[in-house]
């Protein structure tokens, strides 16, 4: 029963990893940018929520009403002000600039919020659970997290394949030059993509802050989880990121079941195995 429980809890945590991954996948898909600061932006959102909750007394989940638009606006400005200038044939400038951004964010958060770890208190949400089977309890918070991840991925999928913004994302990703002939300003299209990415990051950041302690240096670890989930699931496939997140979560859960010290290792090993045997991930984007 312990093993089954580890799997169930792993699946639920996978939802959070899928949230980390969805934004990364989106940005890579639209503009071939690997955002090294992705994890730090998640932590920035956590701190933003923490500051808002402390200033207003709002429930952490209610703070999303402010954190999501703020992060989205920040994403739009970041893309237009800085990241658009780094995009070109050379893949190095965006890596260097987002790496620099990562360092700046970590140190900025350290300076402003100190190195003390924080946590958001979501009250009864965190403590409530219900039994699924004897010996397996489902926490309301992990379930909510997982359901949110599914809803986010479904929403992104809809946006990508059913709306004119999504059409603009796909066209710009296919052929930037010809997309401009359709009247699309690729710099604006990229900015909207980054805004959307950081809206998802905001939700991930708030859930992360409710689930566990966080400090200014937790970003790179979240980046790795997101990155691994993207690669396991298959680059450019949104539902694949959910599967990737779940596999990573389950691997970590099972690893921890063997020995708590194996939790992270088991995730990394699974990632490497997928990379070795299915380098394009489990669900690569249907080429077309």
């Amino acid at each position: 029963m312990d093993w089954l429980n580890a799997i169930v809890q792993g699946i639920l945590v996978g939802g959070l990893y899928a949230m980390f991954a969805a934004g990364l996948s989106l940005i890579f898909g639209v503009m071939r940018l690997v955002n090294i600061a992705h994890g730090d932006l998640i932590i920035l959102a956590s701190y933003l929520a923490w500051a808002i909750v402390h200033a207003t007394g709002l429930h952490p989940l209610a703070s999303l009403i402010i954190v999501v638009p703020l992060m989205a606006g920040f994403g739009y400005a970041l893309q237009r002000g800085i990241l658009n200038r780094t995009l070109g044939k050379d893949i190095l400038p965006p890596l260097l600039v987002t790496f620099g951004l990562s360092v700046i964010l970590q140190n900025g958060l350290l300076e402003y919020f100190t190195a003390d770890s924080r946590k958001l208190d979501a009250g009864f949400l965190e403590t409530s659970s219900f039994p699924l089977l004897p010996g397996i309890n489902i926490g309301v918070l992990p379930l909510l997290m997982f359901v949110s991840a599914v809803a986010i991925i479904a929403g992104l999928q809809f946006l990508f394949y059913r709306t004119s913004l999504g059409r603009a994302f796909r066209a710009t990703s296919d052929d930037t030059e010809i997309a401009q002939l359709m009247g699309l300003d690729n710099k604006k299209v990229y900015a909207w993509a980054m805004a959307l990415c950081l809206a998802v990051v905001a939700i991930a950041g708030v859930f992360l802050a409710i689930r566990s302690n966080f400090d200014p240096f937790m970003g790179p670890g979240r980046l790795i989880f997101g990155f691994e989930a993207v690669i396991i699931g298959g680059l450019g496939n949104l539902w694949g990121t959910l599967v990737g997140g779940v596999i990573l979560g389950v691997a970590q859960g099972l690893g921890a079941q063997v020995d708590p010290g194996y939790q992270l290792l088991a995730g990394h090993v699974t990632f490497l195995l997928v990379l070795a045997f299915r380098p394009t991930g489990l669900y690569p984007r249907v080429s077309g």
């Binding site: 059409r167 359709m182 009247g183």
Partner: protein, 236 residues
């Protein structure tokens, strides 16, 4: 200045790709309703001229005036809104968009005019049967129809057609060329790039021959002998 029917006026256009100069002072004038053929051997600069007009080549000097407005420095996304559309060499459909999505995207600039999904399907009935198919699953000729339709959807006043016949079977080329008069009938101007000189001269009232980034000959097809034209074409 009275708005003349001189729609496009290019003077001394010099275009570059990095350090490489591809156009060395090209000038041309196009009036409302004109259909001009642009001929020249490989690498003469035909595609570069079309890409310079629609804003895809940004490194350029000289002047490009469209309906009295200087558009030399405009980005491509602004030029299409003013009524110039390109059917690019090699078609370049969006592979992750369906046929209909390609067309709808072409109409995104929403200029008023006769062209809409239904009129494009009227021109190319086969496309309405394939509208949900991925654009890359179509035959070459059908893909060319999508590329033309996508450009028409923006209701341009000037359509730039770059090597429509590239890689297509002769019978398909013939079909497409037979439809051209229906496209220009509404008064739309066109610049047509074509390798096949006979076809190019047959479809236009006026031609321009380019060689190594310069205009080597221009006039009406009637005004010159085949020898004069091939001399300008090959540079003999």
């Amino acid at each position: 200045m009275p708005l003349s029917d001189e729609w496009l006026k290019i003077e001394n256009l010099q275009s570059y790709y990095g350090d490489f100069q591809a156009l060395h002072g090209v000038s041309l004038t196009l009036k409302k309703g004109d259909v001009i053929s642009l001929i020249g051997s490989n690498g003469a600069g035909k595609s570069t001229l079309l890409k310079s007009i629609c804003g895809l080549v940004s490194q350029k000097t000289g002047s490009i005036t469209w309906k009295g407005e200087d558009i030399l420095k405009f980005p491509a996304s602004e030029i299409v809104k003013r009524g110039i559309a390109l059917v690019p060499e090699g078609r370049r459909l969006f592979p992750s968009l369906s046929v209909e999505e390609n067309l709808v995207l072409g109409g995104q600039v929403a200029r008023p005019g006769p062209w809409s999904l239904s009129s494009v399907y009227g021109l190319f009935p086969i496309l309405s049967e394939k509208k949900t198919a991925p654009s890359t699953s179509l035959s070459g000729g059908q893909q060319q129809m999508v590329a033309i339709g996508r450009a028409l959807m923006s209701n341009p006043d000037l359509i730039l057609l770059d090597e429509l016949s590239l890689g297509l079977a002769p019978i398909v080329i013939k079909d497409i060329y037979e439809l051209l008069p229906r496209i220009t009938a509404s008064g739309m101007s066109a610049i047509l790039v074509e390798q096949d000189v006979t076809r190019a001269l047959g479809a236009a009232s006026h031609f321009i021959c380019m060689q190594e980034g310069r205009v080597s000959l221009e006039g009406t097809p009637m005004g010159f002998t085949r020898d004069q034209i091939s001399a300008a074409y090959f540079g003999t």
